[in-house]
């Protein structure tokens, strides 16, 4: 050390200690940041609100109800024969997010989907748009009678939540 002059620089053990100390501090700081980031993720009570049951019997053919599941709207649509035929007649290669109507339903007359536009999250309006399905007023996305994206900025079909029929007229979502 004694022979070290100001300006001239040689690598010394002290340099190693600086780098090592700095590296340990950086790793420590990075780990300490994690709780501050993760606190913003959905909390345990939010995650716990998971499933709901929906009674389908009051929904007549051609009508739709909207239920609230995890703070999101879920559309339950009682489709007409015409709706189903129209959805199944679409050639799959015409679709932006290719999916057959059969893949999107458990029973063809009941279409159950998350009513959130896959563009930026608005709730599309029923019985509107160019494809006899839904139309999102926010930026103009059109969905068909199977809830598949046909026109506009949205990239994906309306999502199908996990659901099952508990009996003929009741489903459990989630």
């Amino acid at each position: 050390m004694a022979d070290q002059t100001i300006g001239a620089h040689e690598e010394t053990r002290r340099d190693f200690l600086y780098v090592a100390t700095g590296a340990v501090a950086a790793v420590g700081a990075a780990m300490a940041i994690w709780p501050f980031i993760d606190q913003m993720n959905p909390a345990a009570d939010v995650l716990a609100l998971s499933s709901i049951e929906v009674d389908l019997s009051p929904v007549p053919v051609g009508q739709q109800i909207t239920v609230n599941w995890r703070g999101k709207p879920v559309f339950v649509r009682h489709r007409t024969e015409a709706d189903i035929e129209e959805a199944r007649a679409v050639p799959i290669e015409e679709l932006r997010d290719p999916q057959t109507d059969e893949e999107r339903v458990v029973k063809p007359e009941w279409l159950v989907m998350v009513g959130i536009c896959t563009h930026l999250g608005c709730v599309p309006l029923a019985d509107q748009g160019d494809f006899d399905g839904w139309f999102c007023p926010c930026h103009g996305s059109h969905y068909d009678s199977s809830g598949r994206i046909r026109k506009g900025p949205a990239p994906l079909n309306l999502a199908i939540p996990g659901y099952a029929f508990i009996d003929d007229t009741t489903i459990r979502v989630g």
Binding site: I37, V46, N68, G71, L120, G121, C122, V123, G140
Partner: protein, 402 residues
């Protein structure tokens, strides 16, 4: 100030903590170009608007409740029951609009007179950082009254992040603290809406530091040659800024007392409903041009990237503009394109305000293309091919000649 410093106690104090000499140095003797016009008033007006927002915001926070079930009613209570609550809230809501008006004019001034060019690039960047922070602050503030526009504005804007491949969805849920915009979102937005204005104050300090280090640009856009080019800030510009503040406050009062909801949206007086989107959602007017760019691109990720790029491109402006002449006064070609850009931004604003149907769609696409064309192609080319008009010898000469 000198008289004050003659006082023994004050001199003793100033010697230990030089607040007075500091103020004297930066706000009184501070040398400013002698030819500044009224376009240079918008900086001090932006400062005034920031102070107004902080003062009204802090008192609003004394009455506001950041909870999804109570926020809307607490704002209605501010409007109806709290003494002068209506005035304070209208000041805060209209104050945000006025803040953007003066900041946009302040930026336009910089674009016209080339204030972003060397040696003021860092000053320009700091201004853009302030703009981004203001946008975040105003967006989160608009969510707080928890009306329909608050809720759906928050939904659409946070969903912009879902366009990011792979990590988009987790990021959005992280922002929300749930599976949709909800109480957790409202709480964090309130916390950040309280914090960010003070961060803005910090960046403003850096902005002014950079300004005082390199001194103001001026309408001629030429460098200063000597003391004859300057006049002291006080009393010349203190009085000019005070006059500007008077005009600002008169216009502000007209909106406050005669049209307090003119710049707002009636749907925000309907409580938030997570199951129904209003038929026509629009952001506040100050976001409309950017919103139009977002919608002009018929692709989710593309739209988000274009919107982001429309602001980030301004960071590169000092290098995209290849001309070494600052002021548009001496740039006969640039001057026309400056006004075309302003018209383009107004057109984009109208596109953003109207539903994405009919001729608005192609119009917004043309205007978006032109916006990028201006910065990426026209500016570099104009700088090379334009023959500037001759510059005056000094700032003082044309003034003193008269």
């Amino acid at each position: 100030m000198q008289a004050l410093l003659n006082n023994g106690f004050i001199r003793w104090f100033d010697n230990r903590l030089p607040v007075l000499s500091w103020t004297n140095h930066h706000m009184m003797e501070y040398p400013a170009p002698r030819n500044l016009n009224y376009a240079w008033n918008f900086g001090s007006l932006a400062g005034l608007a920031l102070v107004l927002q902080i003062v009204t915001g802090i008192v609003l926070a004394m009455h506001y409740t950041p909870h999804a079930d109570m926020a809307f009613d607490s704002v209605e209570r501010i409007m109806r029951d709290v003494n002068y609550g209506w005035l304070l809230r209208y000041m805060h809501a209209n104050g945000a609009s006025f803040f953007f008006i003066v900041v946009y004019l302040h930026i336009a001034r910089g674009l016209y007179y080339g204030s972003y060019k060397a040696p003021r690039e860092v000053l320009w960047w700091l201004g853009l950082v302030i703009l981004l922070l203001m946008m975040a602050t105003a967006f989160m503030g608009y969510v707080l009254p928890w009306g329909q526009m608050s809720f759906w504005g928050a939904t659409v804007i946070t969903n912009l992040f879902s366009a990011i491949p792979l990590i988009g969805e987790p990021i959005v849920q992280w922002l929300w603290g749930g599976f949709a915009v909800g109480n957790a979102t409202l709480n964090r937005f309130f916390s950040l809406h309280f914090l960010l204005p003070f961060v803005i104050v910090g960046v403003v300090v850096l902005h002014l530091w950079a300004l005082h280090h390199k001194k103001s640009n001026n309408p001629l856009g030429i460098d200063y040659k000597g003391p004859q080019d300057f006049i002291p800030f006080h009393p010349y510009y203190t009085i000019k800024d005070a006059f500007g503040a008077g005009v600002f406050l008169i216009l502000f009062a007209i909106f406050l007392f005669y049209a307090p909801n003119y710049m707002g949206h009636p749907d925000n007086y309907i409580p938030a409903d997570p199951l129904v989107t209003p038929a026509h959602i629009v952001p506040e007017w100050y976001f409309l041009p950017f919103y139009a760019i977002l919608r002009a691109i018929p692709d989710k990720l593309g739209g988000v990237l274009a919107m982001g790029a429309s602001i980030f491109i301004l960071f590169l402006l000092p290098w995209l503009d290849t001309s070494r002449i600052r002021s548009a006064t001496f740039r006969p070609v640039f001057k026309w394109f400056f006004w075309l850009l302003m018209i383009d931004l107004v057109v984009l604003g109208f596109c953003g305000a109207n539903p994405p149907e009919g001729f608005w769609v192609p119009l917004s696409q043309v205007a978006t293309v032109y916006y990028f064309l201006h910065f990426l192609i026209l500016l570099p080319l104009i700088g090379w091919f334009e023959r500037p008009r001759p510059l005056p010898d000094s700032i003082a000469k044309p003034v003193l000649k008269a």
